[in-house]
């Protein structure tokens, strides 16, 4: 057993954003939402995450603005605490321990210092029942307080936060559960219950799903399983209540919300259409269709200017009340199953997996941000449950990231399988993938595996797909058959089969000279150059389920896992079995940058990880019980910069990082201690940077320093994210708009700027001249170089002069000045030119 002192398994990124309804602050600038064990604060205009309010030790189950102070926010969690935060600075103000897991919580302005929480009833263990409890928050200055003043309000409530709502500023509370609506009046201390008949006649389900109360009027809106919305009135009498029905949704209404003035009612459901009903003129309604995925929550900002909808694909859409989408905050989309494997885009180093139905998502792991979704199916998605739609089931990148191959399939009962193989070429101009070839029905049956030949020269790209129809096909990029065609497209080059067996997986060797295709128990090795069957290897019993060629010094080895719990390693030089070991390998991975391989084995309910070199008898690293459940998706992601780790056990993490998806669809990774330390240090650095006083001069300089940094690593970042560079004119504006009394003395500034202008302009000219002269003769080029040198020496002289002009400068000022001089002032030249 290898010791694993400092390697840890950690969650990384992509937590849920749509678990509970988000909150928009009073000034509509921020949006707060529960995300895993933290509360995230997003900017509503830039979609960026500003703070993460960390502190809870359990899942955060609710976020609420404090009714008495709109700059503070409460959050509740399953760990039994309610915390009060200052979200603008991201500071924890107070922690209130309640002691019971909180499933959802509510507050209203009328009930000062009281919050209402939903907890499970302690008595009954068998079927979980929930109750609404009022908690009086103790008033004390302490950071940590304990609330013990609990009083039950309602019992038998629904833990879903949408099922309870306050009405008329807190005069009553409405709760729905199954077929019952319960309204509790605080003043009268009395509750009324209204029941609906169980009505299954026309496929209708009367079950309540959500409730909302009109802020001014005595009106309760309830949503139902069958898509109906009922508006209840006159409910303060037991008998004479009335309700009217609105019906547009064809399936369950998942969220309802009144606008703050009560003029409109918003509703949403599976159809992913946001509907705005006019209150009291319900025949008039506005639609906002095609929001992307089923709506789970709707909230409105306190001033009514912004709506915001959470969607089932881990997305929050911010909508201006004029029914126009203004921003989209998108998290990592985690469907019920990841049909494509985890992949790395070689270009953007983004994690690629299927996300929204019919899309591939590109997720930047470094920045924990969704880069973009690539529409693979290019079909209108019909939001209806039970409908079979096209799904992306396989995807593969070639080594250079120039080509992406995707397979989509639609399997309908009775009808035959519909398969499409699509090949996408990377377009430099638009920085995205463009469809090159669509091959409909490439195989007669499902495609089991797909692999590109991973060679460096991109001229002869080759794709191999294996299918359940017993064939594997090689696809090649071919020149157009006719001159009128636009460009090259993909054609089938070879169809191979082996005794009618079903190929399960395929793999190319690192240099692309060999192709291994596993036909059940037999591994066949082919030469892609001649399509000759070179040899067959087998190790019965048990079909081969995963194949990997070794890399670098281990390239003579071919590894395979069999269904009979064997991990086999064949030596391709002797065509014999080198070694084998008995383990239930679920996923075999090869690190593209080293010889290392990783095997995820499933053993007694949990997954173990082994990292090994095929040539060495002992594994480099092994870790028992990495997580519970099976791991079927994992990927080695190359690091941006190599890690220098001296410890032997963590050396395998130096070049690349290992990410894997657990059965619960959590994205995990392995980190070393050194890495964490570095991260911590960098975050501290960030804090210090922030603490520098925000003087206008700092703003000016700080921005430029950032710009420079961006220029420096523009190569990498420009590829990765399509972020526009900030406009230089903005910083000029800042300079010009800075009040005069905070600026340094004019002489100080003026000379500096004049200098900088002179330098930059001459530099630009010199460059132009240089380019022109280069064409003419070498001699002149030399001259121009001399000129440049002379111009370079100029600023030094002038700078010396200024220093002598102002001898009263302190050392710090001098340092600042020197730094200013080093800065790039070409933007000013741009200003002059314009």
């Amino acid at each position: 057993m290898v010791e694993h002192g400092d390697i840890r398994v950690v969650h990384c990124g992509g937590s849920k954003l749509n678990f509970r309804d988000p909150v928009i602050t009073h000034d509509s600038r921020f949006l707060l939402c529960a995300s895993g064990e933290a509360v995230k604060v997003f900017s509503t205009s830039t979609e960026e995450c500003i703070h993460e309010l960390r502190g809870h030790t359990g899942l955060v189950t609710g976020v609420l603005l404090r009714p008495s102070n709109h700059l503070q926010v409460y959050s509740s969690s399953l760990d039994g605490t309610v915390r009060l935060w200052d979200f603008t600075d991201g500071i924890l103000i107070k922690t209130c321990v309640i002691g019971y897991p909180i499933y959802s919580f509510y507050a209203s302005a009328k009930h000062e210092n009281v919050i209402f929480i939903v907890t499970s009833m302690p008595s009954e263990k068998r079927a979980e029942r929930f109750q609404l409890v009022a908690v009086h928050l103790p008033q004390s200055g302490d950071q940590l307080v304990e609330a013990r003043e609990l009083s039950a309000v309602l019992s038998g409530v629904n833990p879903n936060p949408a099922a309870i709502a306050f009405g008329r500023g807190g005069e009553f509370i409405a709760s729905v559960n199954d077929l019952q609506l319960e309204v509790y009046f605080f003043k009268k201390q009395k509750s009324y219950r209204f029941f609906l008949k169980e009505d299954n006649k026309k496929g209708g389900w009367n079950t309540f799903t959500c409730v909302a109360c009109h802020p001014k009027d005595d009106c309760i809106a309830t949503g139902h399983e069958d898509g109906k919305i009922r508006l209840w009135r006159n409910f303060n009498h037991k008998k004479e209540y009335t309700y009217s029905t609105l019906h547009w949704h064809h399936s369950a209404v998942s969220s309802l919300c009144f606008t703050p003035e009560g003029t409109n009612l918003l509703s949403g459901g599976v159809e992913s259409v946001l509907i705005q009903w006019r209150y009291k003129q319900e025949s008039e309604r506005d639609f906002l269709p095609r929001l992307g995925a089923a709506i789970t929550h709707i909230t409105v900002s306190p001033d009514g200017s912004l709506f915001c909808t959470s969607h089932s694909d881990n997305k929050i859409t911010i909508i201006q009340s004029c029914v126009k989408v203004s921003a989209v905050i998108q998290g990592l989309v985690k469907g019920d199953s990841i049909r494509t494997d985890l992949m790395m885009d070689p270009r953007s180093k983004a994690l690629v997996l299927n996300g929204k139905p019919g899309h591939l998502q590109f997720y930047s792991l470094q920045r924990d941000k969704l880069l973009y979704n690539l529409d693979i199916v290019q079909q209108e998605y019909i939001h209806e449950s039970g409908l079979q739609q096209f799904e992306v089931v396989k995807a593969a990148f070639d080594a250079s990231g120039l080509w992406l191959a995707t397979v989509e399939e639609r399997h309908q009962k009775a009808a035959e399988l519909e398969l499409n193989l699509k090949l996408w070429a990377f377009d430099e101009q638009t920085q995205s993938f463009v469809l090159n070839t669509t091959i409909s029905a490439p195989h007669d049956a499902q495609i089991t595996a797909m692999s590109f030949r991973q060679t460096a020269d991109s001229q002869t790209t080759l794709l191999v797909s294996t299918s359940k129809d017993g064939h594997f096909k090689a696809w090649q990029l071919a020149a157009p058959a006719h001159t009128e065609d636009e460009g090259p497209s993909w054609l089938c080059d070879f169809v191979g089969a082996y005794h009618g067996l079903v190929p399960e997986c395929c793999s190319f060797s690192a240099d692309g000279s060999l192709l291994a295709v596993a036909f059940q128990e037999v591994v066949t090795v082919w030469s892609p150059a001649t399509w000759e069957l070179l040899t067959t290897l087998s190790q019965p019993p048990g079909a081969v389920s995963d194949l990997c060629f070794g890399r670098l010094s281990c390239s003579k080895y071919l590894l395979g896992t069999t269904a009979s719990n064997l991990l086999c390693c064949w030596n391709l030089l002797t065509c014999s079995l080198e070694w084998s070991t008995s383990m239930d390998v679920r996923r075999l991975l090869v690190d593209p940058l080293s010889e290392n391989m990783a095997a995820f084995c499933y053993q007694s309910g949990s997954t173990d990880l082994f990292v090994f070199k095929p040539s060495e008898p002992r594994p480099l690293f092994s870790r028992k019980a990495v997580c519970s459940g099976k791991v079927t998706q994992a990927v080695f992601a190359p690091r941006e910069e190599m890690l220098e780790s001296c410890e032997e056990s963590s050396q395998w993490l130096n070049r690349s990082q290992l990410y894997f998806l657990t059965q619960q669809m959590d994205l995990m990774t392995f980190t070393t201690k050194a890495e964490e330390d570095r991260l911590l240090a960098s975050s501290k650095q960030l804090v210090i940077d922030d603490s520098v006083a925000m003087t206008p001069f700092y703003l000016l300089l700080g921005k430029h320093r950032q710009q420079q940094q961006e220029h420096r690593d523009s190569d990498s970042s420009l590829w990765a994210e399509r972020t526009a560079l900030p406009q230089t004119s903005a910083s000029i504006k800042e300079l010009l708009q800075t009040p005069a009394h905070v600026l340094p003395s004019t002489s100080y500034l003026c000379s500096m700027f004049v200098q900088s202008l002179l330098i930059s302009v001459s530099d630009a000219r010199e460059e132009k001249a240089h380019a022109e002269e280069e064409m003419e003769s070498e001699k002149e080029e030399e001259d121009s170089e001399e000129e440049m040198e002379s111009s370079r020496s100029k600023p030094e002289l002038v700078a010396a002069a200024t220093e002598s002009d102002a001898p009263a400068l302190t050392k710090a000022q001098a340092r600042e000045l020197r730094r200013v001089r080093k800065l790039d002032h070409s933007w000013l030249a741009g200003l002059l030119d314009s």
Partner: protein, 524 residues
């Protein structure tokens, strides 16, 4: 809010011939003018001088047509029997023709009565031509002889008796007044030199020769006979160059396009084939209604004239570029370029505040209806006559989309007789198209499920259903036959392929365990 994604229309690979420069060129002719002659049209000859009238020999007459007239400009009717091979002299003044009664007649094009009669042949004369010095006439006859005549005094100059069968075709050299070529039913093509007493070159065509043609350079000779068209190199002493066999019946006539780049051959199989003279590949093909006996091209390919056995003369004129332009100009005056460009090429200045206008997306009618979930209406739109016939792939895409949405049944249901018959019409038309079958089978099953109760109420629908049934049965038989053929082919291929050693490298039998036991690792 994502925009509506329009229905994806599947692009099917274009079947049939590819559009090439040649097809464009040869398709650029107007609809043919058809003129009924008195009998089979055996010969067509264009006058070498403008306005390029052409002489059409049919039955006992020779008609001369102007380039654009549909009525004969002139006709020569003084033949006792069937006339053959009316040909113009190189100045377009004189016309010579043979006749079944063995007399060769020479006409002035402007006159009516024969200027000269050349008597001497004993049987029908099928070949007549002027030599390039304009003073002599070449004739070839069914009496196996070919003769040279002097025009001024109508006397016979020489007789060649080398052929052993009917002489049916021949041509004189345009460059040398003494050279001429004859083709005969004795399978030979002979090149004669009037300065010597006998043939200079003899080429064996292999079939009765129906037509010969000299290239403008006169280095190459083309002969047609039987199903073959052969090209001979005269400069190499009559060496065969190419043999073309693209017709499935006797080739009767040959022509060269005006630039000499394309060779045309007409045959009894009702086709005219166009070959490229560089690689002798067929580049285009014309179909005609009846077996073709004669073919001629006007200078500059202005028109293609074809004579057929059913005594129809078909004239195709080239489309005029100016004509089409004029028509377009009359139809509509387009707004000028400025109108479209207006404001589009404005470059915003740096401090300008840009107000972006939402781009209005254009959706097809069926897409608009699909967006509103009006499934029946969308199907109706896709079944409109124009789309149904011209762009069945659109109809298919809509049906597929409806099927994907699970609403195809709703869309198909509730149609009246007219709607249903329209639908069935589409099914019948496209059911056996391999590209469409998978989707249409589902649709057809649904239609039968929905409308089985109304069978027998409408004779129209019943008839269409029967036709559909018929079609399906035929297709099944056809597929069965195809599978049989495939099986036969498979056995043939299997037996013809050399048996190859399975490269198992001797390890297969021991499952890769050759060098003793492999190490078994135990990590756990």
């Amino acid at each position: 809010m994502a925009s509506f994604k329009p229905t994806k229309i599947q692009v099917y690979p274009k079947l049939g011939e590819k559009v090439t420069q040649d097809t464009l060129y040869w398709k650029n002719y107007k609809a043919p003018v058809q003129i009924k002659e008195f009998g089979a049209v055996t010969s067509i000859d264009f006058s070498p001088v403008t306005p390029h009238n052409f002489a059409v020999t049919a039955f006992t007459r020779i008609h001369i047509y102007g380039p654009f007239s549909q009525e004969p400009v002139k006709s020569f009717t003084r033949f006792k029997d069937t006339a053959y091979c009316g040909r113009f002299r190189s100045d377009g003044q004189l016309l010579v023709a043979g006749c079944e009664d063995s007399v060769v007649r020479l006409f002035d094009v402007s006159g009516k009565v024969a200027l000269r009669l050349f008597k001497g042949h004993t049987k029908a004369v099928h070949l007549t031509d002027f030599t390039s010095d304009r003073y002599q006439i070449l004739t070839g006859s069914d009496d196996y002889t070919c003769r040279l005549w002097d025009i001024p005094n109508a006397t016979e100059l020489t007789t060649y008796r080398e052929h052993t069968d009917y002489i049916r075709c021949g041509v004189t050299s345009k460059l040398n007044r003494d050279l001429f070529i004859t083709g005969s039913y004795d399978h030979t093509v002979k090149l004669f030199d009037a300065r010597v007493e006998k043939s200079v070159i003899t080429m064996d065509h292999g079939q009765p020769v129906e037509s010969v043609l000299l290239y403008p350079s006169e280095g190459l000779l083309v002969s047609a006979g039987g199903r073959h068209v052969k090209v001979w190199d005269l400069l190499k002493g009559g060496q065969p160059l190419v043999s073309l066999k693209n017709h499935h019946k006797t080739v009767t006539s040959l022509a060269l396009s005006s630039n000499g780049q394309r060779l045309l051959s007409a045959s009894l199989d009702r086709h005219v084939k166009v070959y490229s003279t560089t690689n002798y590949k067929v580049v285009h093909n014309f179909d005609y209604a009846a077996s073709i006996l004669s073919l001629a091209l006007a200078p500059d390919d202005e028109s293609i004239v074809v004579g057929m056995t059913n005594s129809i003369l078909s004239i195709k004129h080239r489309k005029n570029q100016e004509d089409s332009k004029e028509i377009a100009g009359q139809q509509r005056r387009r707004p000028s370029y400025r109108v479209f460009v207006k404001g589009k090429n404005y470059v915003p200045k740096q401090d300008d505040y840009l107000v972006s206008k939402p781009v209005k997306e254009h959706l097809a009618k069926y897409d608009k209806q699909l967006r509103r979930f009006n499934v029946s209406k969308a199907l109706d739109t896709a079944l409109e006559t124009w789309i149904r016939f011209r762009k069945p792939e659109i109809t298919m895409a809509v049906i597929k989309e409806l099927d994907r949405r699970g609403t195809l049944k709703n869309a198909l249901a509730g149609r009246d007789e007219r709607g249903l018959s329209q639908l069935l019409n589409f099914l019948i038309g496209n059911f056996v198209d391999a590209r469409f079958t998978p989707v249409l089978v589902t649709a057809a099953e649904m239609i039968l499920d929905i409308y089985q109760s109304i069978i027998g109420q409408s004779p129209l629908v019943d008839r269409q259903l029967l036709r559909l049934q018929d079609l399906v049965e035929k297709e099944l038989d056809y597929q069965k036959e195809l599978l049989e053929v495939l099986g036969m082919l498979d056995t043939m291929f299997a037996s013809s392929l050399p048996r190859k050693e399975v490269p198992c490298s001797g390890i297969g039998k021991s499952n890769g365990l050759t060098q003793g036991e492999p190490t078994t690792l135990d990590w756990v």
